[in-house]
């Protein structure tokens, strides 16, 4: 079964097409990696799935339901959560509050309930704090940092807070945009383990944009390769590693012989 099915997606800005005819399927409970050189359209693809961009053509199906036209703020309630390439945390808020924001759509408190802060609102808030402490923060080893402001945390931890925020929504589909960019080898390994644990523990379907090919080869069940806004290949990691078109997309092609080699 496929959790996410994207059919024949086309996206263009003022005549320049960022994606053309892209079809990618993310199988339920599996890790699907989206790879490709810079500027291939990977992040645009994510932005369509999370609703920032309305595609020029094509459809996005979540569990068989067409969500192509759904505005971004309606999607988390359906179980979509994501992280960003450049960490997008709310500075000036504590780690705990940042994570709590991830659970926004699962809470009910309205304006008046919030202002009076009696009964239901108070209970709901306490329950959320408890749940985050026990499920998410503990799992991601963030419990000791809950009351710190996010901008005081080192980079690796910030990435983890972002992941925690996405997990607080208990998503069915998790989009990770370069989750280990700028990390060193040890941090990458820790993050990779976390991603596998998330899948194991919650059965979350994961879509992953990543440049570290070692990691992609290792983590993913399925790989889709984008180049120039087109999906040039899909298959298992091993197949992709042997695919000549994929290799040349990455390493570049010799192309036409150079007019003049440097001396």
């Amino acid at each position: 079964m496929s959790a996410l099915e994207v059919c024949d997606l086309t996206l263009s800005f003022g005549g320049i097409s960022a994606l053309s005819g892209v079809s990618i399927v993310a199988a339920d409970g599996q890790i699907t990696a989206v790879i490709g050189p810079n500027g291939a359209g990977k992040t645009s693809f994510f932005n369509v799935v999370s609703g920032f961009y309305r595609p020029t053509a094509g459809r996005v199906l979540l569990d068989g339901r067409d969500i192509t036209a759904l505005p971004p703020h309606r999607r988390p309630a359906l179980g979509i959560a994501r992280t960003f390439q450049n960490i997008a945390l709310f500075h000036g808020m504590t780690v705990l509050d940042n994570i709590k924001l991830g659970a926004h759509t699962q809470l009910q408190t309205g304006l008046f309930g919030a202002g009076l802060f009696l009964g239901h609102a108070r209970r709901e808030e306490a329950e959320l704090t408890r749940r985050i402490q026990s499920d998410v923060a503990g799992f991601l080893e963030l419990d000791t940092h809950a009351d710190k402001e996010v901008q005081d945390l080192p980079y690796g931890l910030q990435r983890r807070v972002e992941l925690a925020r996405a997990l607080a929504a208990r998503p069915k589909l998790l989009l990770l945009d370069e989750p280990v960019a700028g990390m060193n080898r040890e941090e990458k390994q820790a993050m990779s383990r976390l991603i596998l644990d998330i899948r194991r523990q919650w059965g979350t379907t994961i879509l992953l944009i990543e440049h570290d090919m070692g990691m992609v080869m290792d983590l993913s069940d399925h790989v889709a390769v984008l180049n120039f806004g087109r999906c040039i290949a899909t298959g298992t990691p091993d197949e992709m590693g042997r695919n000549q078109e994929v290799i040349s997309a990455y390493l570049g092609e010799p192309g036409a012989p150079l007019a003049g080699q440097a001396a």
Binding site: K188, M215, F228, Y250, L251, G252, G255
Partner: protein, 259 residues
């Protein structure tokens, strides 16, 4: 002995969010040479270029340690426009042509680098049009309507007007079709040969870059993982591993089995 055009020694770069971008990087660009800087995303390639061209403070980054010297002089603390006026031209990733201006106006913008050196002149423009005849045809057209390849040509041409002694090219192949990439690399090589401009080239397109560079460095996580002549690196398995994760050591890098 003639000093090298550019020498970096022990450079550490850090951004505000306490990301270590580059650690203990040393590299040399010899006079009149083409040097390539390769590596995956986030390896620190662009940060290195930004440090050289003085953009780091504008991007909330800092050079924590090390020295950058251009033609034997320490350039630390120079404002970006001052560096440009000395001949260090940075052609940024993603081209950044002034979309609302005409091609020729983009070239005029390039002449600000000549302030204090000599007056504006048409000869530079003609030279650019010589290298890129397509730009001559489009000279009155808005730069925003050029194709990706033409915009890249304009970005390079705009730097060329400023009579650079060192060009920093950040991913000139980004998002371009292979045929266009080959064309642009051919012209880069020609500029280097004919004008003696030193070039530091950041690339993802490893085959292309190694094809025209005499020497190359491979960055991984902000450190130099490999270096050598273009030809020797092209034959090296480490390049393949870097990009495809299927190096000689094969499955040694498994995260699944990690404790």
């Amino acid at each position: 002995m003639v000093p090298a055009t550019l020498v970096l020694t022990g450079v550490d770069i850090r951004y505000q969010a306490s990301v270590d971008a580059v650690r203990d990087l040393s590299l040399t660009v010899p006079r009149g040479g083409i040097v390539a800087l390769l590596g995956a995303n986030g390896a620190g390639k662009s940060s290195t270029l930004n440090a050289i061209s003085g953009f780091l403070p504008l991007l909330r980054g800092r050079m924590m340690a090390g020295r950058i010297s251009f033609e034997g002089e320490d350039t630390a603390g120079l404002a970006p426009h001052a560096l440009v006026r000395r001949g260090v031209l940075h052609v940024r990733e993603g081209r950044h042509v002034f979309a609302d201006m005409t091609v020729e106006e983009n070239l005029v913008a390039g002449t600000f680098a000549l302030t204090g050196r000599r007056a504006v002149h048409r000869r530079g423009f003609d030279e650019v049009y010589g290298y890129f005849p397509i730009l001559a045809q489009r000279r009155k057209g808005q730069a925003g309507y050029l194709s990706g390849g033409e915009q890249q040509m304009l970005a390079i041409g705009r730097a060329l007007v400023a009579e650079p002694r060192l060009m920093l090219l950040d991913e000139p192949s980004l998002g371009l079709a292979p045929r266009v990439v080959a064309e642009i690399f051919a012209i880069i090589a020609r500029i280097n040969r004919e004008k003696g401009t030193s070039i530091l080239l950041v690339e993802q397109n490893a085959v292309m870059a190694l094809g025209c560079a005499q020497y190359a460095y491979v960055l991984e996580n902000g450190r130099v993982a490999a270096e050598g002549s273009g030809a020797s690196l092209a034959a090296d398995a480490s390049i393949r591993e870097l990009y495809l994760g299927v190096g000689a050591d094969g499955a040694a890098r498994s995260f699944r089995d990690a404790p």
